[in-house]
Amino acid sequence: MIDPALVSGLSALMFVIGLGGAFTRKNAIIVLMCIELMLNAANMQFAAAAVHHGDTTGWVYTLFAIAIAASEVAIGLAIFLAVYGQHETISLDDVDVLKN
Amino acid sequence: MQDWISMPLVGFPLVASIVLLVFVSNADESMRKRLSDPIRMACLVFSLVLLGITTGMFYQYFGNVSWEGISFNTYEFTHRYNWIESLGIHWTVGLDALSFPMVWLTTFLLPVTIIATWNEKNGAVYFPIVLAMGGALIGVFVALDLFMFYVFWELTLIPMFFLILKWGGKDRKYASQKFFIYTFTASVVMLLGLITLYFFQDPVHPLNYAGSMTGRTFDIPTITQHALMENSNGNWYLGANIQKILFAMLMLGFLVKLPAVPFHTWLPDAHVQAPTGGSMLLAGVMLKMGAYGMFRLPVSLFPHALQYFQLVLMVIGMVSLVWGAIVCLGQTNLKKMVAYSSVSHMGVILIGIATMQPMGWAAALFMMFAHGIISPMLFAVCGAFKHHYHSMEIGAMRGMAKHSPWLATSMMFAWMASLGLPLLAGFVAELMMLIALWYFLAAEGWSVFWMVGPALVLAITAGYYLWSMQRTIFEGGDETQPPASLHGEPVPDIANPEKLAMILLAFFTILFGVMPWIALDMMHDWTIQIFEGLILPVLGGFSGGA
């Protein structure tokens, strides 16, 4: 089986990619995907840690985290829809009625 | 001992005014108009009751306290209730010869102010606010608990803020905010100083009235007692460095309130914009809070630091004295001139404190008192100009004495009193300050040129006052030249309530000028007490006198 260290290394990579993407991409959907990436990085870490410690709660955490991610996506998409309805765009840069 | 008598002094006006305000606040315009007369009357009666109480205290009708021989850090009419026990905060009130004259002054100025501004617009709200102002001011003077002191110290800002904002002049918006923010900024620094002082108390041997949570106390007598103990065993209370820092932090708050140059610029704005009543209370009592605070806290707690900063205080005092007077010469607005003259007079107080001589301190105390009677009259006169002529520009009018003998006479009297004419209250303080200063200089071997400032000011003050009188109430030929702002209407003289107020103020100015001992003896006694009870034991052979 794989060495958990590698997994967590991969997760770190995913996290950095996700975080980087979150503030480089304009499109809200893609940003949302980046966020998912970060969450999944966390999940992998949990999984790896669970293996590492041989502790089942890690898996539970992962499951819960997935659930959270799912609901987050649901809410996010709903909000994006509403935004599109009002602003005719979901590009983060263009939705800036509120500022200063 | 009717100790309880000191309680209503604070509570009564505040509660009464809040009740009245709540009562008024949900009345509509017409209702307010109808209400304003009874409310004004009620406020007058309340304030007269207060005056009665303090006067009774003075004549030993209540509690027969003799105001002389009260030794340092003991207080009469004291009360202590638990307030916020966990922090060692108590509702502690008490009076000594330092605070009592101020309290009497406040209670005296309240009715006078109400009378002088008898016809102020929207009286149903105005007079309760004035009453609240009085209550807050009294609170500052009777508070013997640092927390309570600070609470009232800030509380005074609120009514004054509204007085300026609602009844003020054209720029009242700016002036009121400047007044509030400027003084608040200074006093929060003071607050930090107080808290730091609070926690520098020794928790291992906790003092009386200590908080259950903090193990320290806010109780001023206790702290003063402890400080005295620590100071008089040779070393500095809290150590030299800390004491200096705390002294400076506290002084900042008081100097701004006083106000001393260069922290004075809030004063002219506030005064010029404030309504007559506001100015009267502001100049009459509120400025004195600064001087009072100096005596109550930094001087009483940190004599070493006082001696250390003596030169600084002296310089600030001199600068305020001279700078204020010279700026007066350059003013064209009557009220602004008077405001700057207050700055100059406050310089006298500061110099008196800096001499570290009983005589100088007595001079400072008497100046607080005398200026508290004279400056309201000055501002009452300015207010009359504003109210009747709609103009306070010096030189905008001529020969007003012809049409307004009362106003002219009051003006002349107030001006003369303020420029220190003998047999009027102001002279005594100035004379004592001069003597104390010279004695101090001679004994200390300081340069004689410190006298140049006061000497200069004696002449300059006469200069700007006479100049302003010549160009307002005098001259004008056979046909006087009323201000253009009157638009040709007949020139009115002041109304009867104003006359009454002027007469009252003038009477007391003369009374305390001819018989200064009425108030001076107790002040003199207090200065002797603090000097022999604090300064000499602590500073022993210090070089602050001879």
Partner: protein, 756 residues
């Protein structure tokens, strides 16, 4: 000095009423002011009470009587110092002088009587009464004053209270306090016609100029307090205290006295603080007579005379002669300068004002010399020296007495002249009696009732006035046997006596000698221009006699002035400072007079013998002769002067015919114009005020708003702009927010990396 040896207190029922001398007028002040406000315009108040004049009169009478009683008690008791009643503790305070406790300090009020007091007390209360009389005749008959005279009388009595208080006070502090009260009253009375810009600014000028002197006086007092620990005469003059101070700090003492002297200079209108006195003539004439001639201006002299004990103190021997010289030479300068300016004045009252300055200067010189003598001679033991000192001091005080009487009279006389000329003018030009419509056209014509151009030949029209003027002028000139002669000669002689042992004093000595001639000239010029010759215009021709209220005081004073020799005989020339040569002490009146006579005219010392006659020649022949030659002349036809004035007028006419010469060249010389412009001193002062003081204060006011308040405003606006910057970082784009989160994360990451 002898007067400080604690003598037995005189206890009599009169002494405890002494405070009333001050209190009565003070009460009268309040009463008159109040009644005036209430009953203003009421016929009874106006006609029967003369708008308060007849309330003031009895009060002044009462205080005169009380003063006389006090004086007589004093002379009977003949004691040097007299603390009439115990002090009121006025200010109580404390000082710490390095000891283990603080020591209490107290300033009290009491009454103190000695020779100087008595002299001035008599002068003040006497003249106050007479001038009060005069003002009833003067003020109440001029409609311009209607319904405001109560203000005049109120301030008048308050002034009298101040003057009497200053004289009676028992400490320098209370001297200063009453001194200031007088200053206030002078301000109010000069500004009585406040609606006239000239009057208003004159009042301000008077107050400010004297105030400048007062500042120094106050500092001097403070220094004196520091030296003696008290300001009470009883303490300050105590020989042991003076010795103590002399031992430690004589120099400081001289400084203190010098600063106090500056105050005197301001009050007595000496150079360089003299500018206010001529302008003060803007006040009503009674005011000029009382305050600016007879009493208040003497306060400065009184103060200096009060310093005598220091100069006389044995322990301070030779320490204070510089100050004495300064006092004398200030007097000398002013004497000449004022007299010179008086040459060219056309305004009757201005002439008198400058002559007042000049005469006061004489007294200062006299005092200065007396001080010098007292300070340098060993007069405590050497009886000759003692005599010299006493006479010198006495001469000065006696001149004060003579001058006060004469000048008071002169002013009242000039007042009556102006008054009548004024009326005549109105009778001629506006044919309405003083009634409605009077005030309107009162000032609108440029007729100047005070200018001597509009007078001339009045000797026959107003005999009493002319006589009074004549006598007064003679007294001021020092015409032999009349009034001022006795004292003036003494002053000149003493000046030269001092000049003999200290060459510095040659300057004041020359000044006073020269001054004598100048006085002679300008005084007689004034009299001849006014009373001799033909009327200069038809106004002068229609002047009528004046009223009884005015005549009476003139009459009385004429005789007082004429009988000056009697006072001299009584020993006024030297009793005033010492008990030994006291009032009628060793000589009876006749001996005294004879003694004075021979001492004056047949001085044993050749130098002073010659000096006397030189002085007499200059003052009584040269000056008047010149004036006669220029301005003398017969009266108009049909006009008959009183017999005692005829010779004078005749003489002047003869002189005019015989020696008349054309003086236009002199009159148009630059010096003359300079003199007409008061030597430009006022201009310089005004320039200084406007350019330096006003300019500087405006700059400071600017700095106050620009710099100090500007800093506050800068902080405020700065924080505002900072706020915009900060808020602009909230761009509104969610990406930037996320970026910030990422940056924050990174920062924390790096921080922890640093820790771990």
């Amino acid at each position: 000095m002898a007067s400080t040896e604690s003598a037995p207190l005189v206890h009599s029922e009169w002494m405890q009423f002494a405070p009333l001398i001050i209190l009565l007028p003070m009460i009268a002040f309040a009463v008159i002011l109040f009644l005036g406000r209430v009953f203003n315009g009421h016929p009874f108040w106006k006609k029967n009470l003369k708008e308060g004049g007849l309330i003031a009169l009895p009060v002044m009478g009462a205080s005169l009587i009380l003063s006389l009683l006090l004086i007589s008690e004093f002379l009977k008791g003949n004691s040097g110092v007299d603390q009439v009643f115990e002090q009121i503790a006025w200010i109580n305070t404390g000082i710490w002088n390095g000891g283990s406790t603080t020591e209490p300090v107290s300033f009290g009020f009491g009454i103190y009587v000695d020779h100087v007091t008595v002299m001035l007390l008599f002068v003040a209360s006497f003249l106050c009464l007479l001038i009060n009389m005069f003002s009833i005749g003067y003020m109440n008959t001029d409609p311009i004053n209607d319904n405001r005279n109560h203000r005049f009388y109120a301030e008048f009595v308050l002034f009298c209270a101040g003057m009497l208080g200053m004289v009676l006070a028992d400490s320098f502090l209370w001297l200063f306090i009453f001194w200031e009260i007088m200053g206030l009253c002078s301000y109010l009375l000069i500004g009585f016609y406040y609606e006239r810009p000239s009057a208003a600014s004159a009042a301000k000028k008077a107050f400010l100029t004297t105030r400048i002197g007062d500042v120094f006086l106050m500092i001097g007092l403070v220094m004196l307090w520091d030296l003696f620990g008290s300001l009470d005469y009883a303490v300050v003059f105590a020989t042991e205290n003076i010795d103590a101070v002399a031992a430690s700090s004589a120099g400081t003492l001289q400084w203190a006295l010098g600063l106090m002297f500056i105050g005197a200079v301001g009050k007595s209108a000496q150079f360089p603080l003299h500018v206010w006195l001529p302008d003060a003539m803007e006040g009503p004439t009674p005011v000029s007579a009382l305050i600016h001639a007879a009493t208040m201006v003497n306060a400065g002299l009184y103060l200096v005379a009060r310093m005598f004990p220091f100069f006389g103190a044995e322990s301070l021997h030779g320490d204070l002669d510089d100050l004495a010289f300064i006092i004398a030479s200030v007097g000398g300068i002013t004497a000449v300068m004022a007299a010179a300016i008086a040459f060219v004045q056309m305004d009757l009252k201005k002439v008198l004002a400058y002559s007042t300055m000049s005469q006061l200067a004489y007294i200062f010189t006299g005092l200065g010399c007396a001080m010098y003598l007292a300070n340098t001679l060993d007069w405590h033991h050497d009886s000759d020296a003692h005599y010299i000192v006493v006479v010198a001091f006495g001469a000065a005080l006696f001149h004060l007495f003579n001058h006060a009487m004469a000048k008071g009279m002169l002013f009242m006389a000039s007042g009556s002249v102006i008054h009548e000329v004024h009326h005549a003018h109105h009778h001629l030009h506006h044919h309405d009696d003083h009634g409605d419509g009077h005030d309107e056209n009162h000032h609108d014509d440029d007729f100047d009732a005070q200018s001597m151009e509009n007078m001339g030949g009045l000797a026959s029209k107003m005999p009493i006035t002319a006589t009074a003027m004549l006598v007064g002028s003679a007294s001021i000139m020092g015409l032999p046997l009349i009034g001022g002669f006795w004292s003036k000669e003494g002053i000149i002689a003493n000046a030269w006596r001092v000049a003999q042992d200290d060459p510095r004093f040659l300057f004041p000595a020359m000044c006073v000698l020269l001054g004598a001639a100048m006085t002679g000239f300008y005084m007689s010029r004034m009299w001849f221009k006014t009373f001799a010759g033909k009327p200069n215009n038809e106004v002068a021709a229609h002047v009528g006699p004046t009223n009884i209220w005015i005549k009476t005081p003139l009459f009385i004073l004429t005789f007082v002035t004429l009988s000056s020799i009697i006072f001299a005989g009584m020993g006024f020339t030297h009793w005033a400072s010492d008990t030994e040569y006291s009032f009628l002490s060793e000589k009876n009146l006749l001996d005294g007079i004879l003694y004075e006579m021979e001492h004056a005219f047949a001085n044993s010392d050749p130098f002073f013998f010659i000096l006397t006659y030189v002085a007499i020649f200059m003052g009584a022949v040269l000056g008047p002769g010149l004036a006669m030659a220029l301005y003398g002349g017969k009266l108009a036809e049909g006009e008959e002067a009183k017999p005692w004035m005829r010779p004078v007028i005749a003489l002047s006419a003869w002189a005019n015919k015989r020696f008349h010469f054309d003086n236009t060249a002199i009159r148009e010389s630059t010096l003359a114009t300079a003199l007409e412009n008061r030597l430009y001193i006022d201009e310089y002062y005004d320039k200084a005020m406007v350019n330096i003081v006003a300019g500087f204060s405006n700059k400071v006011a600017e700095a106050d708003t620009e710099v100090i308040d500007g800093t506050i405003k800068a902080i405020e606006s700065g924080s505002q702009s900072l706020s915009t910057v900060v808020r602009s970082m909230t761009t509104g784009s969610a990406r930037d927010y996320i970026l910030m989160v990422a940056v924050g994360t990174l920062a924390i990451f790096l921080f922890i990396w640093g820790v771990a």
